[in-house]
Structures are given as structure tokens and as C-alpha cells.
Symmetry: C2
Subunit: 404 residues, 2 copies
């Protein structure tokens, strides 16, 4: 087996944690695996470096911020290598540049365009352990670039692909993906397997355990990802291509997100282009729109409702109030106490069956559904925030999620 | 003019100091110069990183220590570049690897084997300011290496040579080289010019303002070095090849070093190879021997006296006591309250005249000379430490050093 292991900031946050992490690497080697490691900066270090840059200038040069911030992972990679050598493992730290991570795009949010894994493969075949800095690379001109927050997950999956690893193990402070949030539903069950598509849905909702880009990359190259805890060495959740032969439940889990607000612009004179007229200015204000519902036009007027992150509620109302006058719409109103609840599952063969059951369960609990949206593997409803726990527990039970 | 400016740890030790340093760079640009900058780590940063490595292991892997420590200068280079960009200068930070510093030899004490300055020259001709990390490079295999403490001076001179600079300005916390230590002789005068050879003698004695290797490199490639203060923007001391047409004083200065101890091994049976037999074990104990005097052999026995750094006094006595028995020598004794005083000057056409005058001056003050050694440009005596101030002041006056 050839494994790429990724350890985040809390797993390398202190001398003691680095020592624990080194033990995990050694255990994998003792199992006979060839191992490469990807590390983040020690927790807090990236913020310390950013604070220095911001102390220097209100608008620090992006190229130089990247050059500074990239040193955080370089220190961790060297420290872990020192510890591994102490334990008798031939480990070598590599910066993004040394490891062959090529990037394109802007500083602080570069994208990996390729990884030359050849020399790392040689190291691994020789029994050496490359310890590679996550989150960084170099662009075509040789400038140091960073991938943006959370980019280390993506680095790890990209490296796993480049060295033809059998799996990319992402060690973190949770031990996997659950059928729902165990803080709300104690009967929540850890999923042993999940598809990339489901993981993407979970990631875009509450479960912020894997960076979306890393999952997309794994999906594109079919690289299995094992999401697991660096505190408890037990099986976590394996993310892989859906096995069509696999007997599997229709539904994987119930996700929710409280960080929602809903706005409505009412009585818009209906003519082609009104959606563009509304969402253009909203996008220009850097506001991410999520669920959108446009009512059927009545007597030449229509309503448009959509959700935004709760932090963007006030700026969104400001944009819409301005638009309301310009477009001769009737009024704008909103509600920042709503939440999203979603049923996720690639096994969901027909939405209608799942959706019907979902609506029945919520109706039985007297929970009013404000908005509905569906995708291939998800049904989402917007409800009053105060009903979130009740909705999650009822749906978890109704879909039989406490048993595999 | 094309100038390489080097700023040490105290010149970049805080946000405020980096801002002052950026102003100095801007002044040089306003004078019409093309400028490249070499920086050290912020004062204290190298020690912080070494402490982390030593917390991890009693014997941290040298390759990884270098990788960690090298990040210190990378942060400074980025911070100074941010500040320069804020002031409207197009500055770009470069790590040792990016700047093209190739090294050979061991980690933590690598030597610069070459610098490819071509792309930095293009930047400078374009009006950009490269800000390069001192103290580091990469070896032939692409591993990050450091040059050892003080190596940033050497980086700066090597870069000046590689980009064909007219001068290498070393900014530090002293404003130049003086005819002697102004704390002992208030009439000490700053030297406006000094030869590489004299600078080497001053550097190997008290004046630890320039790393010896940087002076040797400047001498080999005839690169002028301007040693000056980053606190007072006045002319410092220019180190360059001796101009034979220049009317100059015989003597440049009086240097001294209190950090000395003297040991003697007496009554050694004299036969070929005794020097090797003594200095072999001393060198093996990593003790640097300086002034050596071997007495003329009397009736088949001889005495050997030499000086060592005062810290090495006890270890040296241990080595010699062991040797004394093995060689059937008579006895070992020593004195750790001695000091060296030197007269330095490339203008010193004949030693005998200078030495004669020096001995007369010391005799007049009743200072006993214990050992004497001479080089082409230096006469050194070993005396009792308590006479250092008196000797320095008397010689400074006798050789007329207070007036140019």
C-alpha cells in the first residue's frame, strides 16, 4: 500500500502533538506501507504571520504575503521530519516548490495545475518518508503561491494522485462523517463509506471537515479519501466512487445549516431579464446566493425569494431596497431566523419518493416549509430556525438512519 | 551605480526598524542607483527557530534545522518588500534558492559555490528591487542550506559580485572601523578607507563587525565594501584594494583582544615531529591555537608556548597534561590573564621599524612583552591583561593615530 497522510494544524499544533503525529506515521510504516505526509502550519502560526504583514501595511503585496505565510508549513514539515528521524525513520521535508507543486491563478488563492511526483515516488520506494508542506506551490514564474485557507486537504489529495497512492488519509479532529449532527441526535451513526457527491453536499452544509476542492479533485481522479481522527485511531469515513453493486441505503444522512437568511422582493413587473437585473448587483456586492424561488407571474407581476448567508442579510437588504425603487417593485422583506435542512443520498433513486416522505414527516410535526430545492442527490427545505432540532431528529428516525 | 545593501538583524528587528530600513533603500534609489538588498532574520528569530528544533530533539537532523532556520530571512525579505511596495518601489523577495545561491559543504556551515545573478540583474535594470535572504542557499541536490552565523555578510558580497555591483554597503549598528576602540581611547578616529588585508586583521581581533569570509570574498573579487551605520546615515569605512598611489599613513590602527590564554609545555625531548605530536591532539579537541613560540633547543630539550581562546584554557591544560606524560616532557603551565595587542597597517613597509617603536613604547610604560608574532601587515604582542588600556593608549599616541 502507498498512503498519503495529511495532518492539520491541531495535529501539529505543539511539540507534543507533533510527537503523537510521528507515532501515527510510524504505525503506518510498520504496517508495511510506503508513506508520504502533508502538513499544515502549527495552529495559530498562519494568523501570526498574517498579523505581521498587516502590521506592515494595510494592503500588503499579495506575492509577499504568500512568501511569508508559506514559511509556516515549512517549519512544521521540518519539525515532523526531525521527530521521525529521531524515531529511526528517514524523513525529508519538502516545500511546495521542492515537492513539485505547480500552481496557477492569483496569490493567496492559487489552484494546483500539476504535481511532479517522480522524485517523491523514488524516495518512497527507497523507504524514505517525504514530509511535504500543504497549502503552497510555485507558479510558472517561480513565485511562491498559497492555495487559500484549507488548501492543505487539496494538496494532500493532489499529492496522492501524483504519487499513485492507494488512499489519501486525512487526519483531523473529528472521526468521520455522521448520518447527522450527534449533538442534536445522539443516535447519529458514523458512516463507514460515502460517495464523493454526498461528501460534497455534506461539506457545503454543516460538516466543514474537508475542503470542497479536495473532494472534487478526489472525485475527478478517483482517489479514495479516508477521513479519520488523529486522536482516536479507529476507522473513519471512507470517501470513494459509488460502488453500484453495493447494497446501500437510499439515504446517507440529514444535514442542516443555521447560517441562513431569506429575502424577498415582491411585485416586480415581470419581463425577461429581471433575474439578471436582481442578481447582478447582489453578486457585485460579493454576496453568495443559495436557494432561489421565483413565483409564477400573476397579472404581470412576480416575486423573487432567495437565501443568503446570515452575515450578508443586512447588505442584501440594502442592495434590494435600492433595486426595488429602480425596478418599480412593490416591496422588500426578509427573515434572518431561517435554516436549511437537507436529506442527502446518492441512493435516492427518485426525488419524489424521498421528498414526499420528507414533507409528510415535517407536516406531522407542524413544521412549515418555506422553500424547497432539489438536486440529484439532495432535497433541501428552508424552515424556521427554531424547528431545526425537531426536524433533524424526526427525519433521522423516519428514514431509519440509526441502523445501517 | 549599482549597489547591494545588506541589513542585519537589528536593522530589521521590528516593524519600525524595517520601515527605517526601507527609507534607506528609497534614498539610494532616489540617488539614481540600481539596488538589490540582502537581509538577515529579525533579531531573535533564528534563536526562536533553533529552540523549537532543540525542543523536538537533542540532536535534530541538520538538513531540517537548515530548512527551518532559513524561513527567518524569508519572512524579513517579504516584510521589507511589502514596506517598499507601500512606498511605491517595485520590490520582490527572493529566497536563497530563488535568488540562485548554490552552496556546497555541510548543513549549517555551507559555503557559497556560485550565484547566478542574471535574472536579478534584469530585475535591477528594470528598476525593480530584489530583496534577497542572506545566510542561505541550496546545494546541488536542491536541499536548503545555511551558511552559519554571520553568513549574511558573505551572501551580500557574493550577490554584489554576481550582479556586478559597484559596491556592497553593509549596514550595521556601528558606523565604521576606528584606529582603536573609542571606549579605551576617546581620541580614536574613524578610518575612511582600509584595505581588505587590514580589515581581516581587525576582524580577527576585536572588531567583529564583518564576517571574515565576506572580507576574503571581497578581496578575491575586488568588490568594495562600505561598512556603515543604519542609525546614522554618514560615510562609514570603505574596504577596498590598497591604492598604491594613495598617500597613506604607515599604520591604520591598534587592535586588542582580551579573550586570550597562554599555555606552555616545558622540557620536551626535542626531535622531529614534536609540533605535530602536540598540536594534533589539541586540534582534535577543537581548540583553535593562535600565537605559537618554540624556544631554541637547549641540550636536547625545548619549550613550546601558544595562546588559545580563554574559554579553551582548561580543556587545553587537560590535553597538555596528558601529552606531558606521554612525551616525557617536564611540566605544563599557563596563564589565563593575558591579552593580545596588535599594530595593523598595510603601509608598514618594514616590520623592524614598527616593531622597534612598539617595543620602545611598551618598555617606557614598563609593560613586559611575553610573546611576539608578526605578519606582513601586523605586529602582535602578548602582554598581561591589566596593561591593555595603557598599551593601547600609548601606542595610539606614539603612532600619531589621532590625526589622519
Amino acid at each position: 500500500m502507498r498512503i498519503v497522510q495529511k495532518f492539520g494544524g491541531t495535529s501539529v499544533g505543539s511539540i507534543e502533538r507533533i510527537q503523537e503525529t510521528a507515532k501515527i506515521v510510524c504505525m503506518e510504516i510498520e504496517r508495511g506501507s510506503e508513506v508520504a505526509v502533508v502538513v499544515s502550519a502549527m495552529s495559530g502560526e498562519t494568523n501570526r504571520l498574517l498579523a505581521l504583514a498587516n502590521a506592515m501595511s494595510d494592503n500588503p503585496t499579495p506575492r509577499e504575503v504568500d512568501a511569508m505565510v508559506a514559511t509556516g508549513e515549512q517549519v512544521t514539515a521540518a519539525l515532523l521530519s526531525i521527530e521521525l528521524n529521531k524515531l529511526g525513520v528517514r524523513a525529508y521535508s519538502f516545500s511546495g516548490a521542492q515537492a513539485g507543486f505547480k500552481t496557477e491563478g492569483n496569490h493567496s488563492k492559487a489552484r494546483i495545475s500539476g504535481v511532479n511526483g517522480d522524485h517523491l515516488i523514488k524516495h518512497m520506494q527507497n523507504g524514505d518518508v517525504p514530509v511535504v508542506t500543504g497549502f503552497q506551490g510555485v507558479d510558472a514564474a517561480g513565485n511562491v503561491t498559497t492555495l487559500g485557507r484549507g488548501g492543505s486537504d487539496t494538496s494532500a489529495v493532489a499529492l496522492a494522485i501524483a504519487v499513485h497512492a492507494d488512499c489519501c488519509d486525512i487526519y483531523t479532529d473529528v472521526d468521520g462523517i455522521y448520518t447527522t449532527d450527534p449533538r442534536i441526535e445522539p443516535k447519529a451513526r458514523k458512516l463507514s463509506h460515502i460517495s464523493y457527491e454526498e461528501m460534497l453536499e455534506f461539506a457545503s452544509l454543516g460538516a466543514k471537515v474537508l475542503q470542497t476542492r479536495s473532494v472534487e479533485l478526489g472525485m475527478r481522479y478517483n482517489m479514495p479519501i479516508h477521513l479519520r481522527s488523529s486522536f482516536k485511531l479507529i476507522e473513519g469515513t471512507r470517501v470513494s466512487r459509488e460502488d453500484s453493486d453495493m447494497e446501500r441505503a437510499e439515504i446517507s444522512g440529514v444535514a442542516y445549516n443555521r447560517d441562513e437568511a431569506k429575502v424577498t422582493i415582491k411585485g416586480i413587473p415581470d419581463h425577461p431579464g429581471i433575474a439578471a437585473a436582481v442578481f447582478g448587483p447582489v453578486a457585485s456586492a460579493d454576496i453568495n446566493v443559495d436557494v432561489i424561488v421565483q413565483n409564477i407571474s400573476v397579472e404581470g407581476f412576480t416575486d423573487l425569494t432567495f437565501t443568503v448567508p446570515r452575515n450578508d442579510y443586512k447588505p442584501t437588504l440594502e442592495v434590494l431596497n435600492k433595486l426595488c425603487k429602480e425596478m418599480n417593485a412593490r416591496e422588500v422583506n426578509g427573515d434572518d431566523t431561517v435554516a436549511k435542512v437537507s436529506i442527502i443520498g446518492v441512493g435516492m433513486r427518485s426525488h419524489s419518493g424521498v421528498a414526499k416522505k420528507m414533507f409528510e414527516v415535517l407536516a406531522k410535526e407542524n413544521i412549515n416549509i418555506q422553500m424547497i430545492t432539489t438536486s440529484e442527490i439532495k432535497v433541501t427545505v428552508v424552515i424556521e430556525e427554531k424547528y431545526v432540532e425537531l426536524a433533524v431528529r424526526s427525519l433521522h428516525e423516519a428514514f431509519g438512519l440509526e441502523t445501517a
